[in-house]
Symmetry: C2
Subunit: 323 residues, 2 copies
């Protein structure tokens, strides 16, 4: 890949979870000016414990983005950042990278400085920016009026997972980090997703000022829909449902492209997912009816192999072509 | 200091605790081929918990030596390695550097590889080698026959601290790490100490093969006596007691030099220490009677300031002169 001449266009990726990792990994062979803007809504697992114990902003999504951008000679450091303790009283389950970001935050007394220092250690190529520096929680209201507090409780539902999410919001309200705003405004391309719709993608849009920045920027804005539905979040969602939901939070006239996978994985591959109440996101007929201003691109984004994932080569090549 | 032409002589420092840190820091401006061989007897604090929970070798002394040798542009990384969590269930009290070495050991499944990887992260100039790769504990027998198990119980005495230590040994027996042996055999100079006599220095000599390697090597061997006594270990010890004890474990004819501080700190400075049952190590008259083969050097090694410490500039210049 090193022989490809990389584009110097400014690419901003917005998201969270493993989606950000996939997208950044896809883009690295083609672009050399990458910025990841990540959600600050995570409150589960190692991240949740560190938020509670240290009162810091959530390190988990930051960590994943840092690893995706880490220098190519840093295989051991990437492994170290990804390492999760499997033993030790109070250590079990903690991600080493989360502990590192936490320690740096204590030393620098500044979350963004801590991210920059962690980035230096990993020799990252690019930038990682939290969408907000506000300490906020994600709240959901279900179709039956039930209120679910906390990202982790929505992500790993204890409620009846078949009930649709009516709306999500942040408590307290949070405003956009000025560095995130600057990155969006000066971007050539903004890529939103893929990722868990309500828990990784929309929390970024809920932050005060994100919508405005996305409206104001001259960047092309691309949304990647998911390949598979997620129980408790997007049951039975078709591709048009993903896009319509994003537009309902983003407002009309913001998205330029929505990209949809149209290659259905075999039933054999899907069987494991179906057992977990997750299934293929159909590139449905309603897609045509969505906002006429949006170009819907349907293409095969599936990675070969046992697991149903986005193929980072296909993703990267597609974006390179669009940009 | 960068204008000084550094000596390329091979210097090996043997010890543990803060003593190794002091000696390595002293030597760095003058020598560019430094190796630290550190004790594996520590079983207290963060290190003790990690030994118990992970069954790994003790990372604490390794960490201190790594920090002392860390690259000059790595101020933040040194801070990070030294950082100790002050919050967090199960995290409080843990040194971040210890967690890093532990995680690397889990990833590489090899303690020495983990040290090398940690050394790469810190861009260390030199080498850090554990004296043994055997999992062993330090045991002491007191003058009254009482047996004390574990380095930490000797170091922070729960026993009557005025009773002298009769002897110390390792259980189970441990043999020297082949890399430590090689380093000693190929060294030009070996420096032992300063450091806690029974808990940081002698545990290295107790490892099977250390004495033999120190006898066999053509290196000059220098022992640094302590400035202050330590309650429960070296109460009322004079300089000659330190040297005689070392010789009793090392055998005769091994040491070339013993270096003794002869500058007594003011009573005002000592008062804080005296409250903790620690006092000045006198450069006593018995020094002359010790083995005639050893050159005893008495000199001012005291650092100006509130705390009674070795002055790293004085230490460094002295060794440079002797070598």
């Amino acid at each position: 890949m090193s022989s490809i001449k990389k584009s110097r266009k400014k690419i901003v990726v917005i998201g969270g979870g493993t989606g950000v990792f996939t997208t950044l990994t896809s883009l690295r062979p083609y672009f050399n000016n990458l910025t990841a803007i990540v959600t600050m809504a995570d409150d589960g697992g190692s991240t949740g414990i560190l938020r509670e114990n240290f009162g810091i902003l959530p390190p988990g999504d930051i960590r994943r983005a840092l690893i995706a951008l880490s220098g190519s000679n840093n295989e051991m450091l990437s492994k170290l950042f990804s390492y999760r303790f499997k033993q030790g009283i109070g250590l079990t389950g903690h991600s080493f990278g989360n502990l590192l970001i936490t320690a740096l935050e204590r030393i620098t007394k500044d979350f963004e400085k801590a991210i920059n220092e962690a980035g230096k250690i990993l020799s990252i190529e690019g930038k990682v920016i939290p969408i907000t520096l506000g300490d906020t929680r994600l709240i959901a209201e279900l179709g039956n009026g039930q209120i679910i507090k906390g990202e982790n409780n929505i992500d790993i539902p204890k409620h009846e997972g078949n009930i649709k999410i009516k709306k999500v919001w942040l408590e307290p309200k949070a405003k956009i980090n000025s560095n995130a705003k600057k990155a969006i405004l000066s971007a050539d391309v903004v890529i939103i997703g893929p990722g868990d719709l309500y828990t990784s993608i929309i929390p970024n849009i809920l932050v005060g000022g994100t919508k405005q920045a996305l409206k104001k920027t001259k960047a092309k804005i691309i949304y990647f829909s998911n390949i598979m539905t997620k129980f408790g979040e997007t049951n039975n969602f078709q591709a048009s449902d993903f896009i319509k939901t994003i537009i309902s939070y983003l407002g009309k006239g913001v998205l330029d492209y929505a990209i949809v996978n149209n290659k259905k994985p075999s039933f054999k591959k899907r069987a494991v997912y179906i057992k977990k109440n997750s299934d293929f996101v159909e590139p449905d007929f309603n897609l045509e009816k969505i906002n006429k201003d949006i170009s819907i691109i349907k293409t095969d984004l599936l990675r070969p192999g046992k697991f149903i994932r986005h193929d980072s080569n296909k993703l990267g090549r597609l974006i390179k072509m669009l940009v």
